[in-house]
């Protein structure tokens, strides 16, 4: 078994127009910039992006928005300093927005990967974000039924990987990457370094069974 691919372009080649794509990262940490920029070059359109933020500045997800590749964003926090391309496309009505509380976003992604039909969470109960959703009261406490959130692809960033797709991370660059690896049908990991041999099983955070391809991209943001 060898999940290594030689370059970023080959890694993102299977992504078609209209795909639902998860993108790891929080702030500027753990974002697969190499894969996002390869996706931009590859040209797929009509994408739904699932990520915590909606890009900032002139890089990453912001560039996909700027180049009109995105029709929907599912995230918890689209408004970060410098998120001008999201704001412009949103104001123009070009991009739909689904706001999901951050913990619910992570858990919906995990639920998709874990084969669950959804879950009950107290988060958001009685608020605008629970409108139209099924609710239940258990032992006097209100819960909202949340559905799994699967994707066609996940773009991930890790510190090191091996040919089996095992991944380990660096500091707070881990964030959404492990859950997204599970939640997508085809997960592509960009790693700062590809190990010649297998990773020590004790340090593996994302087991390779959740990862379909691994590509080296040595640049650290």
């Amino acid at each position: 078994m060898d999940k290594r691919v030689t370059d970023l372009g080959t890694a993102v080649a299977p992504i078609r127009d209209g795909a639902v794509v998860m993108i790891g990262g929080f702030g500027s940490s753990g974002i697969p910039f190499g894969l996002i920029h390869a996706l931009l070059y590859q040209g797929a359109r009509g994408l739904t992006i699932i990520s915590n933020n909606a890009g900032a500045g002139e890089t990453g997800i912001a560039l996909l928005l700027k180049e009109h590749r995105v029709t929907k964003v599912i995230c918890s926090y689209p408004r970060t300093p410098g998120s001008i391309w999201f704001e412009r496309r949103y104001e123009a009505g070009e991009v739909a927005l689904e706001i999901v509380p951050q913990g619910t976003l992570a858990e919906r992604i995990r639920a998709a990967g874990a084969g669950l039909g959804g879950f009950l969470t107290p988060t958001g109960y009685g608020t605008k974000l629970a409108e139209g959703k099924e609710t239940r009261v258990i032992d006097g406490r209100g819960y909202v039924m949340e559905a799994p959130l699967p994707a066609d692809f996940a773009l991930l960033r890790a510190e090191e990987g091996d040919r089996w797709g095992n991944l380990r991370y660096h500091a707070t660059a881990r964030n959404f990457n492990p859950a997204m690896a599970m939640g997508a049908r085809h997960s592509i990991a960009e790693v700062r370094s590809l190990s010649d041999g297998p990773l020590d099983p004790e340090v593996v955070v994302t087991p390779g069974i959740f990862v379909q391809s691994v590509v080296e991209y040595g640049v650290r943001p």
């Binding site: 500027s28 009685g126 608020t127 605008k128 974000l129 500091a171 707070t172 964030n175």
Partner: protein, 211 residues
Amino acid sequence: MKSLSDADLAARVARDIPDGSYVNLGIGKPTHVSAYVPEGREVIYHSENGIIGVGPPPAEGSEDPELIDASKRLITTVPGAAYFEHTDSFAMMRGGHIDIAVLGAYQVAENGDLANWATLDETYPPAVGGAMDLVVGVPKVFVMMRHAGKDRTPKVLRRCTYPLTGLGVVTRVYTDLAVLDVTPRGFVLVDLAPGNTLDEVQALTEATIHV
């Protein structure tokens, strides 16, 4: 009226954080609280992006761009720190493992309702982040805010008018004028900022302050 500075307000909140607490500090004013926790107390800070044991900003030259907090600021770790992925991070919040959350607010109400994620301006894209998860799970939710708007619009209310973050979740409110507990009776005065009278503070408060 004598209004506390942001630094004095942070110090007032810090006094109420016991030794051995696990604490989540929200973005904005709450981030300053850690600098004022009295010497000798070991307080461990959680940040939603996957770290417990947040340390002070790094020295110049030793910054790690992949080591940040929820405000996206560069940080360090303290001894005993750990990294984890997002579902674990929110299990800590939602599952009641964190002792205290300190959050900013647009409005708070006497029934403990909190509004801090969206206004009534529909043209502005909303952004909730982790606030809703935090308030449902953390046993003590401290709110840190200006008592009233610059135009004296009350923010300490009978009922919130902005979209809610959580229902009945606030434990205690720290403002530049007073500290108030949320109780079944409504707001109960804990203390006034030095140089203020209850009448003056009540005049800037829509809800009744009980003593």
